[in-house]
Symmetry: C2
Subunit: 213 residues, 2 copies
Amino acid sequence: VTAAQRTRLDRESRRAQLVELGVEMLSIRPLDEVVVDDIAAAAGISRGLLFHYFPTKRDYLVAVVQAAADGLVRVTEPDPTLAPLDQLRSSLDAYVAYVEANRPSFVALVRGAVGSDPQLLAVFEATRERIYLQVARGLGLHDDPPPVIRMLIRGWIAFIEELTASWIVDAPTDGSGPAGTLDREAFVTLLERSLVQLLELARDEPLTPPRRP
Amino acid sequence: VTAAQRTRLDRESRRAQLVELGVEMLSIRPLDEVVVDDIAAAAGISRGLLFHYFPTKRDYLVAVVQAAADGLVRVTEPDPTLAPLDQLRSSLDAYVAYVEANRPSFVALVRGAVGSDPQLLAVFEATRERIYLQVARGLGLHDDPPPVIRMLIRGWIAFIEELTASWIVDAPTDGSGPAGTLDREAFVTLLERSLVQLLELARDEPLTPPRRP
């Protein structure tokens, strides 16, 4: 490698390190409490040097959220060697595990504390769409499904976000669940069955509008 | 009435007028585009006088959102003379009509463009809880239902918000629906049945955790 290439690699790996520290911080505190000085200190660099890699705090946060979203999409990637419902189950299992490892951030995100930053909103919207596509693919809906199916799956994603946020607030870390709430396995079952239940609505004849040429 | 009482009434009715103008504006543009100068102009007062009634723009917006939320809760109030499912249907009908009359605001709110203002978030959270209580009451769940039922209804509220936001974007104003999407009546039916489908999950034995003393 040339000196220019090495510098480039150094720069990339330094950026990646800073983003990784941010993603780690998201596992213990919500996004709006991520402090750039703490990140710089953890990386052993000055605050000024951090801003050399990311022009603004917002640029940094967008990169961190994008990396966290990529992580979620990666762990929930359906395993194509499994049957559709097993794919769904295993993705939901990974989803809940991911959320458990990132409680404060997840709850804050779902509860809307993320703010109205258009770039962050774009990352969230793109992430929901990637999850939608994963689910649709896992169910064998390779082409563009009918609008009602798409609507139901997208609505279901909002449903499981809300459900998981309320579950995680009460769920103890050992997965047993306090009296009256569901344990981890029962909760994953609930998420899985909810999609099956909702998709049955698309079969109901009266819902289907008449085909127009 | 004394002079002091009259002044108080004048003040209250002026405030109410300004809030009402804000609620009307929410029917044509999203919250973050509500401009205080336009409101003052519509009320025939100066911008300075508006700030006499509301110390900050945020105070004004919180009052407007609170009034809009009150409106939503009022129109969706279940009619106790109806059977439970008819109550649900009629509330959902009113919900969709309300959303249709406030498209840009509703879509912006659901898509998260509302920002992270804690007071606004508190209004949204309180509104979801009021809608939850309406639904629970409409279903005859007078006391605190089991956590799973509460979770399912709260999740369903997030589900219908997302569904209605995607439906409303495509739905034409005459309610007929473009090819492939649902018309208004079929859409309300979908919302209604989705709750029934989801609540069936609470009946499944394996989901229920063992009772602990």
